[in-house]
């Protein structure tokens, strides 16, 4: 399951495009925020988005810490499980994305 250079290159573009797609609403929302909402409700929205991203990142950090440690333990004894271990690391990392999505949704409403 170790990715070769060519495979990595192939995966790079879809990854960058999806990032851009995710970031677009945030960027566009940022520009429109001033027009749409003003006052305390917008401030709460920003705080909510911040909490969503912060908490999910902490969660992902804990998960990656645990999964990563276990992965290192398993890989040190059986290097052939590296690919599978990376998948689990990816799943742990995914927790941060959920928070980011919620934050984007909040910011989109402001």
């Amino acid at each position: 399951m170790i990715l070769h250079k060519k495979q990595k290159k192939k995966l790079l573009w879809p990854f960058l495009l999806s990032l851009l797609a995710l970031a677009y609403p945030v960027l566009s929302a940022g520009a429109e925020v001033a027009q749409k909402v003003s006052g305390t409700s917008a401030n709460w929205g920003y705080i909510g988005a911040g909490i969503a991203v912060g908490a999910s990142t902490i969660g992902a950090g804990i998960a990656v810490g645990l999964v990563g440690a276990a992965a290192v333990g398993a890989i040190s004894e059986r290097p052939e499980v590296t690919g599978r271990a990376l998948i689990f690391l990816g799943l742990a990392e995914g927790i941060a994305i959920y928070g980011l999505i919620i934050a984007i949704m909040i910011l989109g409403k402001i």
Binding site: I62, G65, L66, V67, A69, A70, A71, V72, G73, A74, S76, E77, R78, V81
Partner: protein, 352 residues
């Protein structure tokens, strides 16, 4: 819970990965059916133990003790991995378990000193403990007499107990009390560390597994002392190991009174009585008890993952696996037919 997960995620994953490389049903069948010692070692070298068998594969010597010295390195490597990954007091539990092998080496050393044999003459009987041991073996082997060697032990955990057993040795010229003192010290050391564990779950698992091991050892040991060496009830009780899980002091006193295997079994509490009913020989008793313990060990790998039990279970499992390998190896070159004697506990062979 999160703290436990952080503490054990690395080492438990490591241990579970090593556990996945244990010998399977097919391996046991091939080892059992190996025509001779050569083919036995050749096949063993294709398993996890291969990394530790380089010397025996190169040289002409294929003796039991030579293999024993090589193969036990796998167990001590596991001890090293676990101890390196765990801080005290958890890591100390494994030092305690490891000290049982130091005690065995000390027993050999003391016997050698008593009979005036140099180290090279008994080297084949020694466990390869050097990498982990904190005892200065070089100094001990250089000691000119038994008394001097015992003196040198004073700065080790074995010192005080061995010194206490010395007058008994001098009075009767029997090494047995000193040897037993060493073994008992190892177990005391374990229980001291286990009681210092901060996590309730760790403590419970350590008590269940190591206590189970002590129970099994005590039953076998009492049977041996009573029925083979014909020791008195008091002496037998004195030489039992501390810290059983099911057998408390009263039970130990009861079984120490047994006159034969049947009466010993009748004194045991229900779960042990049920599994030992019908056993009459010592070897059979030992196998049944190992099976009982192995079932507990395998159960540990199926429970919640973050506790010390996984590591304890593994080192005991590995120890029993090695014992079974050596038992099969011993039969090679002898006229023991496959299936004639039970050499491997059933639970080691069973696939989950």
């Amino acid at each position: 819970m999160l703290g436990q997960a952080f503490k054990y995620s690395y080492i438990n994953a490591k241990v579970r990965t090593i556990y996945s490389k244990r010998l399977r049903k097919r391996d046991w069948a091939i080892l059992r059916d190996a025509a001779d010692k050569n083919s036995f070692v050749q096949y063993l070298s294709t398993t996890y133990y291969g990394a530790y068998l380089a010397e025996i594969l190169k040289g002409p010597e294929k003796g039991l003790h030579f293999l024993e010295r090589q193969i036990y390195r796998a167990l001590f490597a596991d001890y090293e991995k676990v101890i390196r990954a765990l801080k005290p007091p958890e890591g100390q539990v494994f030092y305690g378990l490891f000290s049982r092998f130091e005690a065995e080496n000390l027993k050999t050393l003391i016997r050698a000193k008593k009979t005036g044999l140099p180290k090279r003459e008994v080297l084949y009987l020694l466990y390869p403990v050097e990498t982990l041991s904190k005892i200065n073996w070089h100094r001990l082997w250089k000691a000119g007499s038994l008394a001097e060697a015992i003196d040198l032990l004073s700065d080790t955990p074995f010192g005080t107990s061995v010194a206490h057993a010395l007058p008994q040795f001098e009075a009767h010229s029997r090494l047995f009390p000193i040897e037993m003192a060493m073994e008992i010290v190892s177990y005391r050391q374990i229980w001291e560390v286990v009681s210092a564990l901060s996590s309730k779950k760790d403590k419970q698992m350590a008590r269940m597994l190591i206590g189970g091991l002590v129970d099994a050892l005590n039953i076998y040991h009492v049977a041996r002392l009573r029925f083979i060496y014909a020791l008195s009830t008091e002496e037998t009780l004195n030489f039992t190991y501390p810290g059983g899980y099911i057998l408390n002091l009263k039970r130990l006193h009861d079984i120490s009174r047994a006159t034969d295997m049947k009466s010993l079994v009748s004194y045991l509490p229900k779960p042990l009585k049920a599994i030992l009913e019908g056993t009459d020989s010592l070897s059979q008793t030992r196998m049944v008890l190992q099976d009982w313990l192995l079932k507990r060990i395998k159960g540990v790998f199926l429970t919640l993952p973050f506790h010390l039990g996984v590591e304890i279970a593994w080192v005991i499992y590995r120890e029993m696996e090695i014992e079974a390998i050596l038992r099969i190896f011993e039969t090679k070159g002898r006229k023991v037919k496959a299936g004639q004697v039970r050499l491997v506990p059933e639970t080691l062979i069973q696939e989950e």
